[in-house]
């Protein structure tokens, strides 16, 4: 394609070339107009002129390279019809995802890189600006069809173990791994994470542990097998529970682990440790006090706990597309919000670690495996499902890379309990093996 860019720094939109031949949706291609280019210019301006080429339905190419000089942006955003452009302007956070999944918007180039660029350009938890308000008034919010959305959740934990087996590690751990060595395999890093959690909890032989939200059971099995503890593990997904029970039986651990269908509110008994990895994201902020009460009721006086969760630097809602189609009700908390679990109950925070870049690395592995398995996924699921998962994985990767999301591991005990680690040195001692404290 011939490059004929004007590169004045003040001239952020450059009409490059018009070409025909776009026949998507079986319609005759309508020409894009000056007003379309102007609206797109406003979007690009509000995003700080990202290094991006936008190609409209009639082939018109618009380059947001004003501040980038003569560089040719490697990423191309294809917008296949005017309605898609208008919806993008009216409510980008929900409509980008919807139109990406339906194929009316396409990204050519590195999807995660594109999304990271957008995340970094957007102010955190920004209120809508005057321009956005005017555009929304002029164009109206479109496509927020909650009813149809409810029929189109692309994700749940009962989607089928076979699907997750295609791209998770062998132990089926669907949470952030711990790459002590950044070049470790995903398998090694998930195993390292399971053990890191056990060491942070200072598990001792013979102790009892309750796990809220146990997924496919990898942590429960790791704890029982390597730390000789008994575990009660709760989960709402029957398919995951069946898999976990089967695995525990194969490992000969069925007498050490009880897998229970239920959520944290069903926890009964007294335990030396409470652990929850990747569950808090699904607990509403309003239920934090109740969760804290459950923890306070089930822990012994010298009990301690660990919560591993996606979080935020500042309180703000989930991306609305993810919230609608991927994780309905999900809400990663900021630390001030998270303290609402601990402070009212007399818990003492001992240690908080942010593993954001480890989650980015984890998702890189998942995404690579997902793409390698794309043909197998396509054989079972429709193209919209595949695109939704691609967007979700790339978007999550971008969110952790850009700092839009964090990964917190929070270790706590009861206030005033002096049976707490003296320092962290033992966590990082050379030659650590399972169960050796």
């Amino acid at each position: 394609m011939q490059q004929n860019q004007s590169t004045r720094a003040t001239d952020h939109i450059t009409l490059v070339k018009s070409f025909a031949g776009n026949q998507d949706h079986g319609m005759l291609v309508k020409k894009s107009h000056f007003i379309d280019h102007m609206l797109l210019g406003l979007i690009l301006e509000s995003l700080g002129h990202p290094l991006l080429r936008v190609i409209l339905w009639d082939g018109r190419e618009i380059c947001g390279a004003g501040k980038w000089g003569a560089t040719t942006p490697p990423i191309r955003l294809l917008i296949r019809d005017r309605s898609a452009l208008l919806r993008l302007i009216a409510d980008p956070e929900i409509n980008f995802g919807e139109m990406f999944v339906s194929g009316r918007i396409e990204v050519q180039g590195d999807l995660a890189e594109f999304l990271e660029m957008i995340y970094r350009a957007l102010p955190r938890s920004r209120p809508p600006g005057l321009r956005e308000k005017i555009l929304t008034m002029l164009i109206g919010k479109q496509g927020n069809s909650r009813r149809s959305a409810a029929r189109n959740i692309y994700h749940n934990y009962d989607i089928g173990n076979d699907f997750y087996k295609l791209w998770l590690d062998q132990q089926m751990v669907y949470t952030c791994a711990y790459f002590a060595d950044p070049d470790a395999s995903l398998e090694a890093a998930q195993e390292a994470k399971l053990d890191y959690v056990c060491r942070k909890l200072r598990l001792q032989s013979g102790e009892s542990v309750v796990e809220a939200g146990c997924g496919w059971g990898a942590l429960a099995i790791h704890m029982a097998k390597n730390y000789d503890v008994t575990v009660k593990a709760y989960n709402l997904s029957r398919e995951q529970l069946a898999y976990a029970r089967d695995r525990a039986k194969k490992e000969g651990l069925q007498n050490k682990i009880e897998f229970i269908e239920g959520d944290y509110r069903e926890i009964e008994g007294k335990f030396d440790a409470f652990v929850s990895v990747g569950m808090l994201e699904h607990v509403g902020i309003n239920d934090y006090r109740a969760l804290g009460s459950v923890m306070a009721a089930c822990l012994t006086q010298s009990g301690r706990g660990l919560i591993h969760t996606i979080g935020r630097d500042v309180p703000c809602g989930m991306n609305p597309w993810i919230e609608r189609y991927i994780f309905p009700g999900a809400c990663p908390p900021s630390l001030s919000q998270m303290m609402g679990i601990f402070e009212p109950q007399g818990f003492s925070i001992l240690d908080i670690e942010n593993l954001r870049l480890h989650y980015a690395k984890t998702i890189e592995h998942w995404w690579q495996r997902f793409e390698k398995s794309a043909d197998q996924v396509s054989a079972t699921f429709d193209p919209a499902f595949v695109r939704a998962w691609r967007l979700y994985l790339a978007g999550s990767l971008a969110a952790f890379r850009s700092g839009d999301m964090q990964l917190f591991q929070v270790v706590f005990s009861r206030t005033g309990c002096n049976c707490i680690p003296w320092s962290r040195h033992e966590l990082y001692a050379a030659g650590i093996t399972h169960g050796v404290m």
Copy 2:
């Protein structure tokens, strides 16, 4: 003294023996009455029957050993007059300290152990119970003489370097030390803390650091000397600053460190790192947003910071005696309160460590040294001053041992900055020496 205790578990107050001879305050000793014993009984009950003997002004001994069975409590609390008892009942949190300092209440036995027992017995941030309200109504709040209090601040940072030299380490570090080895000397543990802070900040040769609240300059000097950074260090105490400047000059570091009289609001310039050790306690919660703004304005894009502060598990005020006589305006925050510094400014929390037991250990050292130097202190200061410091040190020790107070080190960067430590392993690598990362 003859022991003649009734030890029925339900009978928590035991009149042991009456003896005469108490002639304190040069007055004829008034006999204690049933009502005094009853009021004292209510106090002991509200404290959960602590392992304690109380001896009244006429020698009458009352033993709060109900739930302790036949044990003879080793700690004796002497109350020298009825007015002292009444004031203790009316407003124990302020009046215990006032009467301890004036000698009208005395503790025989381990003062820190006594105070820890009281801290553990008192519910955290409790609202006054009905009984306390009635007692206060009956007796009235006494002795809250703010005007006289203002003339009797027993502590400030300009009290004289010689006083602090008696019981601090050689580098005059008046904050929590870090005992990688619990048996380390105070000198070694303070040096280890200074270096731990530098390693958490990942200081690199040639970088610039701003320090808010630099005390006698030990951290600024450690950073400049061992990490080859330039430091701007702020402090309000002229005597501390003069000492710090003198020491820097002796070390040949006067061109690397600028000591400035001023607080955090006066910080100007751009820095690679912001550090503050033991200053936040003196910043009001209402000023946290302003502090966060200063940090946001003075840090480079890849800048990072560390705040080391006394904190709380749950928001609550300072002990009122400490607040009035020792640290006016002091307020250790809970983590939810502390997030008010970071969340509005786009900071990302990377690491929080609670070093509560290290502060207890630090104060054990200070207190031992203080007691060893008691004669020297008494030669300069009046007995009330000595008692106030003894109470302050023992009370602080008790607060950290009992979990009433915490010590948080919080490491942060700007949101989305990926120049952050990959893991904590390097912090704990064997054979760490200054500046080796």
